[in-house]
Subunit: 317 residues, 2 copies
């Protein structure tokens, strides 16, 4: 059985760890958001690709969620304190830096992001194929307004990491998406999978950019009956991140039902948490099937149980 997952960062990583216990890892193809990618100190940093890789490799920091387990921040600390370097607000760990140096060197020598991602995955021991959504640059930009009413055009990471999501958001753009092509294998992976899973990732800035790459949304819609998604909103709030600040910009209600309606044209079955069971009727009214389960992934065993529910939901479509 082949499974293809659309993934953002930490929530996806946790979910995929569970999925890799339910399905042979090599049969899971993960299509990952690269709209968050940025250059830091000249290095190509792919936060979501790395989060997924670290979780699947078993080297993620479970407490912090992002980055490597046992991480230190010697180089970033020095760049920040002694060099006052531009970009040092983005904290790169010392182990994490190895990934960025390795990837950036490969890219500089002519490798595509797809090839560099495969090499990173292989070196980390990730058995699931990881695909960037595109080899072309796509950048999530946030049109924001600060407290003084000043308009700002921010990279997503500036909005989120540098400024702590404190600005009012007026719009979200995926620069470059219009002329980007899906990375090699992405459309095939969606078309040929027995099940397509939308991970519990931010609909606005994790799944949104993937679907904005021309051809991807259509490919998922074509498989709608085999598509299941896991709600990233539980009890009216995201488990982590700032989706509650961004979904309203898209006119999406911050609720399990709201996101279901947002995905209605491409998801066949929507998996929601037990605390949101009362939303089931509204979701069905939007044309989706519903599965209700415990979606809080406190550990791999719980993530596996959730993955099995999502998988059954997709296969039962």
């Amino acid at each position: 059985m082949k499974v293809t997952a659309l993934a953002g960062g930490v929530g996806a990583g946790k979910f995929l760890r569970g999925l890799a216990r339910a399905v042979p890892p090599q049969d899971i193809t993960v299509v990952v958001n690269t709209g968050d990618d940025l250059r830091v100190h000249g290095l190509h940093v792919s936060p979501d690709l790395d989060s997924v890789a670290y979780w699947l490799a078993g080297v993620a920091d479970r407490d912090r969620g992002w980055g490597r387990d046992g991480e230190t921040f010697r180089t970033t600390g020095e760049l920040r304190e002694r060099f006052d370097a531009a970009g040092s607000w983005f904290g790169l760990g010392d182990l994490d830096l190895a990934t960025h140096l390795f990837r950036t060197s490969l890219l500089a020598s002519g490798a595509t992001l797809t090839e560099a991602t495969a090499a990173v995955g292989e070196r980390l021991g990730v058995r699931s194929p990881l695909l960037p959504m595109s080899d072309d640059p796509v950048t999530t930009r946030i049109d924001a307004v600060d407290r003084d009413g000043r308009a700002m055009d921010l990279h997503f990471q500036e909005y989120w990491v540098l400024r702590g999501a404190r600005d009012d958001v007026k719009g979200i753009r995926f620069d470059g998406a219009g002329s980007a092509a899906p990375a090699p294998g992405v459309l095939d992976a969606v078309a040929r999978a027995d099940a397509v899973l939308v991970c519990p990732s931010n609909p606005a800035v994790s799944i949104g950019p993937i679907l904005a790459v021309p051809g991807v949304r259509e490919a998922v819609i074509a498989r709608r009956d085999r598509v299941a998604g896991v709600s990233p909103i539980v009890g009216g709030a995201p488990l982590r991140g700032m989706a509650d600040r961004l979904l309203p910009v898209l006119g999406v209600e911050v609720s399990a039902a709201g996101v279901a309606r947002h995905y209605a044209d491409l998801v066949g079955t929507w998996v929601i948490d037990e605390v949101d069971a009362a939303h089931a009727d509204r979701i069905r009214a939007a044309g989706l099937r519903v599965a209700v389960t415990d979606t809080i992934m406190a550990d791999d065993v719980k993530a596996e149980a959730l993955a099995r529910v999502a998988l059954s939901a997709a296969l039962g479509g």
Copy 2:
């Protein structure tokens, strides 16, 4: 009083620390070898510039000689062990990496190596102007033959760090030197200094590349009476490094007198160690004045005493 020093790495760093106790640091311009520069994981690494900067900033590792005090090697260890990355034989420490990331980012944004070097020095708190010998790439290459008689064309760092200087050396080249220009300020610094000092650095691969940049040798020769050099050879051997393997390739005897003769056209006074006092007559016969002192720089106080002898020798010319 203005002093200009020609410098390689560790030996120069120790000497310059002493010199900066004898002369206001801001009056010492240091012209540094960049023939050892290399790209590691895509980063521009300037080993001699950094050694000099770390020593003058007081953050060098005194025991190891090279690199930063209190250094760790988390990123390099990961690149070596998990990623098996090309170039990971060259160990970059985590604090040291901050320098390379900072410099490489500046270069990528259009700064010259001179500008990037000034910025690194400023952030590290180095008060002496540090100048690369050239903003143009000059690379020290070693024509070598391994034990099986196989000829190899090695970057200097491959010869020294990767292969441990175990190969027979047939020749030394400074690729790019012929078309390189001295960095802005280099010729002026030599022409206008009250004293020009040749640090106790490797004549073949530290001072040699500096003198190979068109115009530099002539500028030093023009100041010969005000030039003093400190012998890097004491008791017939280099204090560190592999000069004993390389000097014979240039036809230079591995002795205080041999190096003096090698420098005879550009150095007015040659400072040798007390153990080499018997060489004084041979050095004078080659047309140089001689100063004899303790040249072993066990600490800053001893380095200062040596610097004062060299300075007096240059000024007395």
